[in-house]
Symmetry: C2
Subunit: 152 residues, 2 copies
DNA sequence: CTGCTTGCAAAGTGTTTGCAGGCCC
DNA sequence: GGGCCTGCAAACACTTTGCAAGCAG
């Protein structure tokens, strides 16, 4: 659990390309944030990203990191997930063969650990909810909670 | 949508009984919070509960409401759901024939509206996740996000 | 009476915003 | 060089906590 099967990230250069395509400027702060996210498989909180970005771009400010994350999320380069009790976590939007490969998240209410839930698990639910209720789920933002196997 | 089919609340007296059963004191503040939650079908935020509780128990303090909600949640009388972007919402734990009747929530990222998602929709997912990953979902806390039919 | 609960105020956490200056393009 | 982006500080929304007084059981 937690290790999705052979997934590929967009990569730093790909992210930079996307920035340019959207007439967004490529700045040290944004590069730093992208590097931080690109070099880990974990889901990082804003505070962690700030402290790690500080290493790549000394003096970068919290507010700037938040704005960079906001921009990157709007462009789809980064995905954020709201985690109960501790703000949001961010990660590079995973892609498989060039298309977004959404995954959901499972959070353990006991130990707080966060697990990836491959999109396949949610497909039936997404279809049912859309058909019956007209509501279009965005599985990549889903944050399901429960008890993980270790904590039971 | 938003109107669950014939669901019954635990009721004020039932909630009071539960408090006593757990050696918790029955205080004006707790009664006020329970009344507020018991008299609406909506999911109320902490701020709304505070202002409504003020009517039932003048002078009741924010912190007290938060503590009451915390206690009631621990006892299972109240259920809270984390909503992206605006804290938690609370509601009386719905019961059907005396047993908890969990439901999940759908939040529209566009208009912010919150919809109930009957537990039935989630059962297959709950089973699959538990069987394949050993993770036991708690559907009543689930907060799925997406776009509602009106906003599409 | 005993000690759980409350009111109060203050601190804490996570995030956003207004503004002047700086750097990308 | 124009205007987006940044740093700074302050504000912001929401929630929690320490303490002394109060009330439920």
């Amino acid at each position: 659990m937690g290790s999705a099967p052979r997934r590929r990230e967009i990569g730093l250069s790909g992210a930079v390309d996307l920035l340019r395509q959207h007439q967004q400027r490529v700045t040290p702060a944004r590069i730093a944030v992208l590097k931080v996210l690109n070099e880990t498989a974990d889901h990082l909180g804003a505070a962690e990203i700030v402290s790690q970005a500080e290493i790549r771009a000394p003096g970068v400010h919290r507010a700037t990191v938040y704005r960079a994350l906001s921009t990157l999320c709007e462009l789809g380069i980064v995905t954020h997930t709201h985690v109960a009790g501790s703000g949001s976590v961010y990660h590079i939007t995973p892609t498989v063969d060039g298309t977004h490969h959404a995954h959901s998240h499972l959070q353990c209410t006991s130990c707080g650990a966060l697990f990836d839930l491959p999109a396949e698990f949610l497909l039936p639910l997404v279809r049912t909810v859309e058909r019956d209720l007209g509501f279009r789920l965005e599985p990549q933002h889903a944050a399901l909670v429960g008890i993980c196997s270790d904590c039971r």
